[in-house]
C-alpha cells in the first residue's frame, strides 16, 4: 500500500505543478485559470457524452501508452508509434475494403490481424536496424514516422480514394468489418458516441501486457535487457532478439489504434486522423510510471484534457485548446526532470533514473 502511494505521489506532483504553471500562463494572457480549468475538466463527467467521449479518447492513448511502455521496459525509446499506427490503420482499412463482401466471422479477425501485424512489422524495422547495425532507434523511428505518413498518403491519394472525393480518405470498409459501439449493449448510452469494443480490447491489452512482461520468460528477458543489457547478455539472453521482439510487440500495440479508428469509429482510413496519439503515448507511459495500471490512469487524464479542450475553445475568451498541449509538454518535462523536485525539496533519496536513450 505504501509502495503504491509512493508510486502515485510523484506523477501527482508533476501534474499539479504543470497545472500551476499552466494557470500562470492563463493569468498572463488575461483569463481566469479557475474558469478555464473548470471548462477543461468539468465537462468530462457528464453522462453520457462526457464519459463516453472521454473513454473514446482514452482508447488510442491506452494503446500508444502501452506501446511506448513495452519499448521503455526494454531500454528502447519507440518514438515511432505515430508512424506505426498510421501504417496499421491503413492496412486495416485496406483489408476491410478489399474483402468488403465477406462476413464478420472472416473479416473482423483478418482486419485485427492486419492492424496488429502491420504495426509490428513496421516497428520491427528500427528494431532490426538497431540489432543488426547498432543504429539508434530514436533517429530511425523519427525518420520512419515521416516515411509512414508519406506512404499511406500516397496509397490513399493514388489508389484507394473514391474518385471525386475532395477529402483525402479511402472508400468505406465492408459492413462485416464494423465492430459494435458500446451503445449497443449499454442501456441509455446512445450509439452516436463512437466509444466501441476497442476500448475493452485496450483494457484487455493492459492485462496482457502485464502478464507478458511480468509473468512470462520472454517478458522477463525483455525487462532484463532493459535494466542491464550487459548483465542480461552475460546471463545468456540474446539482446538483439529482445530488441526486435520488444519493438514488434510495441508496434503491435500501436497498430491496435487502427482497430478503434477504422473498425469502430470512421469505417474508413482518413488521412491525418491521429491527434498526436503516438506522441501523447510517450506522456502517458512516463506519467503512468511505465506500468499498465498507470497507463490507464494517465490515458484517462489526457483524454479528459483532450475532450475538455473543445469546451475551452468554445467558451473561454482568450484561452484556446492549445492549453492541452502546453500542459502535456510541461507534464513530460517535469516527469523527465524528476530530480528537479528532489532539488526543490532538497532531500529524499535518488530514484532510479529512466534510461531510455542510452
Amino acid at each position: 500500500m505504501k509502495k503504491i502511494a509512493r508510486e502515485l505521489l510523484f506523477p501527482l506532483i508533476a501534474v499539479i505543478a504543470a497545472f500551476v504553471v499552466g494557470g500562470i500562463l492563463i493569468l498572463l494572457v488575461g483569463d481566469n485559470p479557475i474558469t478555464a480549468y473548470r471548462l477543461l475538466l468539468g465537462s468530462a463527467l457528464s453522462w453520457p457524452d462526457g464519459i463516453g467521449y472521454t473513454l473514446f479518447h482514452a482508447t488510442p492513448l491506452i494503446f500508444t501508452g502501452l506501446a511506448v511502455l513495452v519499448g521503455f521496459r526494454c531500454g528502447l525509446f519507440n518514438i515511432g508509434v505515430e508512424g506505426q499506427l498510421y501504417i496499421a490503420a491503413f492496412a486495416t482499412a485496406w483489408v476491410g475494403i478489399t474483402l468488403a463482401n465477406r462476413s464478420s466471422w472472416i473479416l473482423i479477425p483478418l482486419c485485427f490481424a492486419a492492424a496488429i501485424l502491420s504495426g509490428a512489422l513496421w516497428a520491427a524495422i528500427p528494431g532490426v536496424l538497431k540489432a543488426r547495425f547498432g543504429s539508434h532507434e530514436v533517429i530511425n523511428t523519427i525518420m520512419l514516422n515521416f516515411i509512414a505518413v508519406s506512404l499511406v498518403s500516397y496509397f490513399t491519394q493514388y489508389h484507394y480514394k473514391v474518385p471525386g472525393d475532395p477529402i483525402l480518405q479511402t472508400a468505406t470498409i465492408g459492413p462485416g468489418a464494423h465492430i459494435a459501439r458500446l451503445g449497443k449493449f449499454v442501456p441509455g448510452f446512445p450509439e452516436r458516441i463512437p466509444l466501441n469494443l476497442a476500448f475493452l480490447l485496450a483494457l484487455l491489452c493492459c492485462l496482457l501486457v502485464y502478464l507478458f512482461l511480468w509473468r512470462t520468460k520472454w517478458g522477463y528477458e525483455i525487462r532484463a535487457t532493459g535494466s542491464n543489457p550487459s548483465a542480461a547478455e552475460y546471463g545468456g539472453i540474446s539482446i538483439r532478439k529482445q530488441i526486435v521482439l520488444a519493438m514488434a510487440v510495441s508496434g503491435a500495440l500501436a497498430g491496435m489504434v487502427g482497430i478503434n479508428e477504422v473498425l469502430g469509429y470512421r469505417y474508413r482510413y482518413y488521412d491525418g486522423f491521429s491527434d498526436n496519439y503516438g506522441f501523447t503515448g510517450i506522456a502517458v507511459a512516463l506519467l503512468g510510471r511505465n506500468h499498465p495500471v498507470g497507463v490507464i490512469l494517465a490515458a484517462l487524464l489526457f483524454a479528459v484534457l483532450q475532450h475538455g479542450g473543445i469546451y475551452v475553445d468554445g467558451f473561454s475568451e482568450n484561452v484556446t485548446k492549445d492549453i492541452v498541449q502546453v500542459l502535456q509538454g510541461i507534464i513530460i518535462l517535469f516527469v523527465a526532470a524528476e530530480s528537479f523536485f528532489k532539488w526543490l525539496v532538497g532531500r529524499g533519496r535518488p530514484l532510479p533514473r529512466l534510461r531510455a536513450s542510452e
Binding site: F77, S135, F146, I282, V319
Partner: protein, 307 residues
C-alpha cells in the same frame, strides 16, 4: 529530367535550405558536445512564432518600419535561446533523459504558439500578415554568401579554436576532458544554447523570410529534417551544409512540380516519394550502407562527475 534544373529551382533550393542549415548547424554544436537534440523542431517553432509576432508588433505598434524584421530576427534568436535554456537545465543540471525532454519541448511548442496567438491575435494559431517589404532579405545571392560565411566560421570555431576542441572532447570522452580540467557542463550548456540560437534564427527565417506570417505548426518537421541532415552530414559542418542543400533541393522539387515529377519516359513520381528522400537516406547512412556515420561517443549520456 533536364528542365527541372532551372535557375529558379536553384534559387528556391537555397531559400528552402536556409532554415535547415541554421537549425542543423545549431544541432551540430549541441550534439558534438554530447547532448542529443531532437528538440530542434520545438526551437524552430519558438523562433518562427516569436519572430513573426515581434516583427508585427515592431511594425504596427512601434512604427519601426524596415527595421522591424531585424528586431523580429533577434527576438526569434532569443526565443530559441530561452527554450534551449529550459532544455539545457533539464538535461544538464537535472540529468533528465535527453530524448524525453526533447520530446516534451516539441509537444510544448506545438501548443504554446497557438495558445499565445489565440490570446494576442484572437486567431487560431497564426499571426497577422506582414507587409512584403518588411521581411528579411530573400535574394539567393545574399543568403548564399551569408550561409557560406556562417559555415566557414563554424568550421573554424569547431576545428581551430580551443573552445571547439574542448566542445568536441566533452562529446567524445567527457571523463578525459574533465580530468584535463575542462568543465563538461559549462561546455554542454554552450553547445545547447548555441543550438537554440541558431535554430531560433532558422525558425525566424521561415516565418519572416520565406513567408510573411506564422501559421500553426509551420515547421512541419523541418527540425527533424535538420536533424537528418546533421546525421547524413556525419556531424561535420561542410557535409551538413551539403546535406541541407540536398534536402532543400528535394523540397524545392516537390513544390515546383506541384504533385508529380515527370520522368523522361513519361511516368510520374508522386510527390510523396520525393518527400521521403531525406528520411530514407538518413536511415541508410545511419545503418552504414553509404560510408559510416558515427555519432559522438558520449551522445545522449548525462555526465556524472566522479566524487
Amino acid at each position: 529530367m533536364r528542365d527541372i534544373f532551372t535557375l529558379s529551382l536553384i534559387a528556391s533550393t537555397i531559400r528552402l535550405a536556409t532554415p535547415l542549415v541554421l537549425a542543423a548547424l545549431g544541432g551540430l554544436f549541441s550534439e558534438r558536445s554530447g547532448v542529443i537534440n531532437i528538440a530542434l523542431e520545438g526551437k524552430m517553432l519558438a523562433g518562427a512564432f516569436t519572430a513573426a509576432a515581434v516583427t508585427y508588433a515592431a511594425d504596427t505598434k512601434f512604427g519601426l518600419g524596415n527595421a522591424s524584421p531585424w528586431v523580429g530576427l533577434l527576438a526569434g534568436l532569443v526565443a530559441g535561446l530561452f527554450i534551449a535554456a529550459i532544455y539545457a537545465v533539464s538535461c544538464i543540471k537535472f540529468k533528465a533523459d535527453q530524448v524525453v525532454s526533447g520530446a516534451a519541448i516539441n509537444i510544448l511548442m506545438l501548443g504554446v504558439p497557438g495558445f499565445l496567438s489565440g490570446a494576442f491575435f484572437l486567431s487560431s494559431g497564426s499571426t497577422p500578415q506582414l507587409p512584403k517589404d518588411h521581411l528579411l532579405p530573400q535574394s539567393p545571392v545574399v543568403i548564399a554568401i551569408t550561409i557560406l560565411l556562417l559555415v566557414a566560421v563554424i568550421w573554424y570555431v569547431l576545428y581551430k579554436t580551443p573552445f571547439g576542441l574542448r566542445l568536441r572532447s566533452v562529446g567524445e570522452k567527457p571523463e578525459a576532458a574533465d580530468a584535463a580540467g575542462v568543465s563538461v557542463s559549462r561546455l554542454r550548456y554552450s553547445g545547447v544554447l548555441l543550438a537554440g540560437m541558431l535554430a531560433g534564427i532558422g525558425g525566424a527565417y521561415l516565418s519572416i523570410g520565406q513567408s510573411s506570417l506564422f501559421t500553426r505548426n509551420m515547421t512541419a518537421g523541418r527540425g527533424f529534417i535538420a536533424l537528418a541532415a546533421l546525421i547524413f552530414g556525419k556531424w561535420r559542418p561542410v557535409q551538413t551544409l551539403l546535406a541541407c542543400l540536398l534536402f532543400g533541393f528535394t523540397e524545392a522539387v516537390s513544390i515546383q512540380m506541384q504533385g508529380a515529377v515527370k520522368l523522361p519516359s513519361g511516368e510520374d513520381i508522386p510527390v510523396q516519394f520525393i518527400n521521403m528522400v531525406p528520411y530514407v537516406l538518413t536511415i541508410v547512412v545511419l545503418a552504414g550502407f553509404i560510408g559510416s556515420s558515427r555519432p559522438p561517443r558520449a551522445l545522449g549520456v548525462p555526465y556524472q562527475k566522479e566524487k
